[in-house]
């Protein structure tokens, strides 16, 4: 693109000038690429250096810049001259002089190749024109009127956004409205508190920014961020909150007056909720918060623990319901309960049931133990646990409960639960702290069952009851302890294979519901990107995202609401939402050459493409995260970004100078994920680690944008080996775009054909998974591959 006017600036600071010959760079820039503007500066990142660049930009009317200096990850803010001036950074420092010997021929060649690639890239880059849809809607849809959803709605409203709050049941409140007490949420974290959900419900109902639709469900959602079209429908069978006996209500109100958080807050009975829409109602929203919460794990699967077999074995939720009704009694004959055994991790942290911890059951049982003891100080409470998990300040609560002389804690596996002639229960436990098997006789057994996200069906987990072994917890199965990470435990069927409840009814080509990761939670990456689902503009909050307590759910609601607002605002500016926040580029399709192969529509992890009747991809740019996975998937190479394309990377590869075979200087192309592997390389540079100077790095937005033609280009040019550095995928996935590195490895499987055609061995191409913490190993990985390539010998296509 000769009319594209760019300037090249070389920084000679940080050892670059001492190690490399600037004169040779000048020849490349002005000679080979005929760019008249080449400046060298001893410290480009100084104020004076930046002013110098600015002056040249204005004076010469440059349309793009090449800055040959440090890594693009350094001083990104200094070398930002606005969206209309693309800046290409050539890494001569971290991946040049800091990792290779000074005044060395090979170091010089490496730096020169880097410069050539940078210039080519700059020449091929156009300033992106943002995708600006008309009439971006700024209101939010919140699905689910529990504590997380209500908090999201309230926080969004407080930030000035209109909210549509949809609740399936006849009244707001969710699980919190069914609680007798909640475990302490305020210092000193010692005593159970009133749930206090009524105050929040009233705030929601009195907020003019929030429209509440109870007894309502989503019939359909179409469109994309900034322009979702939502259709609601009425739920005929919606249930309301169970009424409390009047005396309980009265006592609660008094108690709330004393202990309520605000002190002055008057707690009124829950007022009747607004009616649902009589006919299907249509709304337009900008972003969505999914806060549909959880259901308890199906206790009928816990038959070995006596549930369903013995009337006096109940779940935590049933216990809470009894307390809520003010009538804690044995279900068998209504007799008073004088002794209770809590069985923790009932059907949790167990490969045969829920493999994970539900985070709140320990505190729930502690709370129930306390109120049972307060009701009747003669009550004996046994608590059988695997590990008490009371994180953070909840430790104070645990300690307070431990101090109660009538509560007996025991770590150990529950081996058996039997009933005697009087419907009492004999619980046998392998008491780890006594070092022996013990038995207790109790009136009631409470199973602390875990949480299942509403996005999942119960049947998704486990193989049902097991005939032998401990029936609770993880005692026998050490492997299930270690699966505290995401991922499906081996042996049990994948949650994804099971029928999924319908909640969002998305009109997306890839399906109506959110994709799920391990354990069935609709995550994209729970560590790096909380709240973000695999559908842009839809954010999960509360227990539908991950099991948590009400305090964390409130935090989640807040976080998800802010993420949703960010998404709306970025969409309105034509910029990408996370993780490439602010990116103005978006994929453009040259549809004339499309063969309707459907790869892009299938492979996009975010469901960006819909399809018309003839399998043509229909892009929804505001759903796009700009990873380029579709670009990599397209065999016709018709998908490009203004500043990132198949042709651009191909041209960069072609810009690498490959020496003749006799020179014995092999060349290795490394295509590097810019999210983890590239920073790891920079860190290796910062620590002055050394590796072969025969390697040339090209950063990719995601390894999933790898187009196989690049490998063919490289090999045809005589490059001896290709190394692909991508994120870890699989169980401990670290890919920023869900499955980019996985797709890249999958595509590589197909490259064998090309290699055979070229009569080259498959070992010339290697895929390595790298996490950012692997930087100390990176030089070893690169050198080892280089040695391997050396052993194979030069690419026979060299020099052709």
């Amino acid at each position: 693109m000769p009319d594209h006017k760019i300037g090249v600036f070389l920084c000679t600071g940080c050892g670059i000038g001492d190690s490399l010959e600037g004169e040779k760079f000048s020849r490349i820039v002005t000679g080979r690429y005929k760019i008249p503007l080449f400046h060298s500066h001893p410290c480009l990142c100084s104020e004076e250096g930046i002013q110098h660049i600015r002056g040249e930009l204005e004076e010469k009317g440059l349309q793009g810049l090449v800055v040959a200096a440090c890594s693009p990850r350094a001083h990104a803010d200094l070398f930002d001259f606005g969206p209309s001036i693309p800046v290409e950074r050539v890494n001569l420092r971290e991946q040049g002089v800091w990792t290779h010997p000074p005044q060395d021929e090979d170091t010089q060649m490496l730096a020169e190749d880097n410069l050539r690639m940078g210039i080519v890239r700059a020449q091929k880059t156009q300033p992106p024109a943002p995708y600006l849809p008309e009439g971006v809607e700024r209101s939010l849809l919140v699905v689910g009127g529990g504590i997380a959803g209500m908090t999201a709605a309230r926080e969004a409203a407080r930030a000035g956004y209109e909210v549509l709050l949809v609740e399936r049941e006849a009244s707001l409140g969710g699980q919190m409205a069914r609680l007798h007490r909640q475990f302490p949420k305020h210092p000193p974290y010692r005593d159970p508190e009133e749930p206090g959900i009524e105050a929040l419900i009233q705030k929601i109902q009195g907020d003019p920014q929030i429209r509440v639709y109870t007894s309502s469900e989503i019939e359909k959602i179409s469109g994309s961020p900034g322009m979702f079209e939502v259709t609601l429908k009425c739920v005929a069978s919606a249930i309301g909150m169970p009424p409390r006996p009047p005396e309980v209500e009265e006592r609660r109100s008094e108690g709330a007056g004393e202990r309520g958080s605000g002190g002055k807050e008057v707690v009124l009975p829950i007022s009747p909720a607004p009616l649902p829409p009589s006919t299907p109602a249509q709304f337009r929203v900008g972003a969505i918060v999914l806060a549909t919460g959880w259901r308890p794990y199906d206790a009928t699967r816990l038959e070995p623990l006596g549930f369903g077999r013995y009337p006096n074995v109940v779940t935590s939720l049933q216990m809470e319901e009894m307390a809520f009704q003010g009538n804690v009694a044995r279900p068998s004959e209504g007799k008073k309960v004088r002794s209770v055994a809590f069985v923790q991790c009932a059907g949790s942290r167990d490969a045969n049931h829920l493999p994970y911890c539900s985070a709140a059951c320990c505190m729930t049982s502690l709370k129930q133990a306390i109120y049972l003891r307060e009701r009747d100080p003669e009550t004996k409470v046994y608590l059988f646990y695997q590990d008490m998990r009371t994180p953070g300040p909840y430790e104070n609560f645990y300690q307070r409960v431990q101090e109660d002389p009538g509560i007996f804690f025991a770590q150990g596996d529950v081996l058996d639960i039997r009933e005697d002639g009087e419907k009492n229960l004999l619980v046998e436990v392998d008491h780890a702290l006594f070092g022996e098997r013990i038995q207790v006789k109790v009136d009631l057994v409470v199973l602390a069952t875990g949480m299942v996200p509403t996005t999942l069906d119960d049947s998704a987990f486990g193989n049902g009851p097991q005939p032998s072994g401990p029936v609770s917890g993880t005692g026998e199965d050490a492997s299930s302890r270690s699966t505290s990470h995401k991922g499906e435990s081996s042996g049990s069927p994948s949650p994804a294979e099971n029928p999924r409840p319908k909640i969002l009814h998305l009109d997306y080509r890839q399906g109506p519901e959110l994709p799920i990761l391990g354990y069935g939670f609709p995550d994209s990456n729970y560590l790096c990107f909380p709240y973000e689902t695999q559908r842009t503009g839809i954010y999960a909050a509360g227990c539908v995202r991950q099991p948590m307590d009400s305090a964390a759910s409130m935090e989640d609601g807040m976080g998800a609401a802010l993420k949703a607002i960010q998404c709306i605002e970025l969409t309105a500016r034509g910029e990408a939402a996370h993780p490439r926040a602010g990116d103005r580029s978006y994929p453009e399709l040259f549809m004339h050459r499309c063969t309707q192969c459907k790869r892009c529509t299938e492979e996009c992890p975010f469901g960006m493409y819909n399809e018309d009747g003839k399998y043509n991809p229909l892009p929804n740019p505001t759903r796009c995260r700009r990873c380029g996975i579709c670009m990599g998937s397209c065999p016709e190479r018709i998908i490009s970004f203004k500043d990132y394309s198949v042709d651009m990377i191909g041209s960069m590869i072609k810009a690498i100078e490959v020496p003749e075979e006799e020179e014995e200087k092999p060349r290795i192309l490394a295509l590097v994920c810019e999210n983890d592997a590239y920073p790891a390389l920079d860190m290796a540079g910062i620590r002055r680690l050394r590796y072969t100077p025969f390697v040339r790095f090209i950063p990719l937005r995601c390894l999933g944008s790898l187009n196989l033609v690049w490998i063919a280009d490289a090999l045809a040019k005589g490059i001896d080996g290709v190394l692909l550095l991508g994120c870890k995928h699989g169980e401990d996935s670290q890919c920023h775009f869900i499955k980019g590195s996985e797709l890249a490895e999958y595509r590589l499987g197909k490259v064998q054909e090309t290699l055979q055609r070229l009569v080259l061995g498959p070992e010339r191409i290697r895929f390595v998974q790298v996490s950012i913490a692997d930087y100390p190993q990176l030089p070893g990985i690169i050198d080892e591959f280089a040695e391997k390539i050396n052993a194979i010998g030069p690419n026979p296509y060299k020099g052709l």
Binding site: K380, Q402, E403, P405, G406, F408, L433, E436, R437
Partner: protein
């Protein structure tokens, strides 16, 4: 496999332990730091971690039959190192206090010594007895002349009275100690049956018979006389010397009393003895040793609550009465030598009252630790603990 042990926690017992000085027992979270730092604990089935969970679960039966509770010499290393402030040393002391109550014979006496509200009753009896004796044999004229205590109350009465009381107390403690010994053996039988967990079975221990018993008794006695277990408690070496002084001082006083008694009965030697007679010197040195030791102990209990532990009523009752006897004894002698009759006689009377109380309460107060601990140590020798 044996039947699982049916656990029935005794809520009242938990509360009692908490009241008897183990108020922190529920704080334990079973990290076993205590068992690790304890110098007295054996490697197999160490204490006091297991005692802590039994205490939390209110397993009275196990605790009173547990010899380990008595192997603890309460240096409180465990309490100081406990990360949760559960103070295992104090809890074991509370269990021992409970044992005094549990093995008390007759049991009402145990109760009378366990609570401060019965204290006036305990003193009422000796006061009344003394008043009765004075009204029967009293010779007010004696107050005028040289101070001769014989003049106030004839020694024969006192000797007869205290010897009877002593024999009753010894009989009573013998019953308690015997019950304890039987419980220990029974406990050992359940160990053998594998009911007591830890997966370690022991050979059943039956009664070793008097010969075996005396062999282990001698070995334990030598340990007690040398205070060697006491010395294992490194944290507080002063306590070792203090206890040693009290122990040997008390023995010295006991010997003095016996010699004086024999002197009266056999040799017709009438006290007071000459100031520098061997027996008198022994008595005076012993009294000073007990006084010095107790002073240190009391000072430490008041100023070093962390290390010594919370002192219970049992502690103060025992220390207090012993201290009172020593002080009144020394003062009485001093008053006599100073010829202060108006001081000497009342002090002597008070002294006698405290001696009575200490002797009468021997089987039920902390005094009894001398016997229960010895039994437990014999058992420990015998069972290879």
């Amino acid at each position: 496999m044996a039947e699982a042990y049916l656990v029935e926690p005794d809520l009242k017992f938990v509360q009692q332990l908490m009241d008897l000085g183990g108020g922190s027992l529920k704080k334990c979270y079973q990290c076993a730091t205590c068992s690790v730092v304890c110098n007295s604990s054996p490697d197999a089935r160490p204490f006091p971690r297991k005692e802590m969970i039994w205490a939390q679960w209110g397993l009275k039966d196990r605790l009173v039959k547990d010899p380990d509770v008595w192997l603890c010499h309460q240096c409180n290393d465990c309490s100081v190192r406990c990360p949760r402030g559960a103070r295992p040393g104090d809890v074991l002391a509370a269990v021992r206090n409970y044992s005094f109550l549990h093995y008390a014979f007759p049991s009402f006496m145990g109760k009378a010594v366990s609570e401060v509200r019965y204290l006036p009753l305990l003193f009422a009896l000796p006061i009344l007895l003394l008043l009765a004796l004075l009204s029967l044999t009293g010779n007010p004229a004696a107050l005028g002349g040289a101070i001769v205590f014989e003049e106030l109350i004839p020694h024969a009465y006192l000797d007869a009275g205290f010897i009877t009381l002593g024999l009753l107390s010894l009989g009573s403690i013998a019953v308690g100690a015997r019950r304890f010994w039987k419980d220990l053996l029974e406990n050992s039988a359940s160990h053998a049956a594998g009911c007591l967990g830890d997966g370690e079975k022991e050979a059943p221990r039956t009664d070793p018979g008097s010969e075996g018993f005396s062999r282990h008794l001698l070995s334990a006695l030598s340990e007690i006389l040398r205070h060697s277990k006491f010395k294992d408690c490194e944290a507080n070496p002063i306590r070792y010397y203090a206890h040693l002084a009290i122990f040997y001082g008390f023995m010295g006083l006991f010997l003095t009393t016996t010699l004086v008694f024999l002197g009266i009965v056999l040799g017709g030697i009438r006290p007071p003895l000459a100031p520098f007679s061997a027996v008198k010197v022994l008595g005076n040195l012993s009294a000073l040793a007990v006084f010095g030791g107790l002073t240190v102990v009391i000072y430490q209990r008041i100023t070093q609550k962390e290390q010594i532990g919370r002192s219970s009523y049992y502690d103060w009752f025992f220390i207090g009465s012993l201290y009172a006897i020593t002080i009144t004894g020394i003062l009485t002698e001093g008053a006599r030598m100073a010829r202060m009759a108006m001081m000497a006689y009342p002090l002597y009377a008070i002294h006698l009252i405290f001696v009575f109380v200490l002797l009468a309460c021997l089987p039920y107060s902390k005094f009894a630790h001398l016997f229960y601990r010895s039994v437990a140590m014999v058992y420990a020798k015998y069972s290879g603990r």
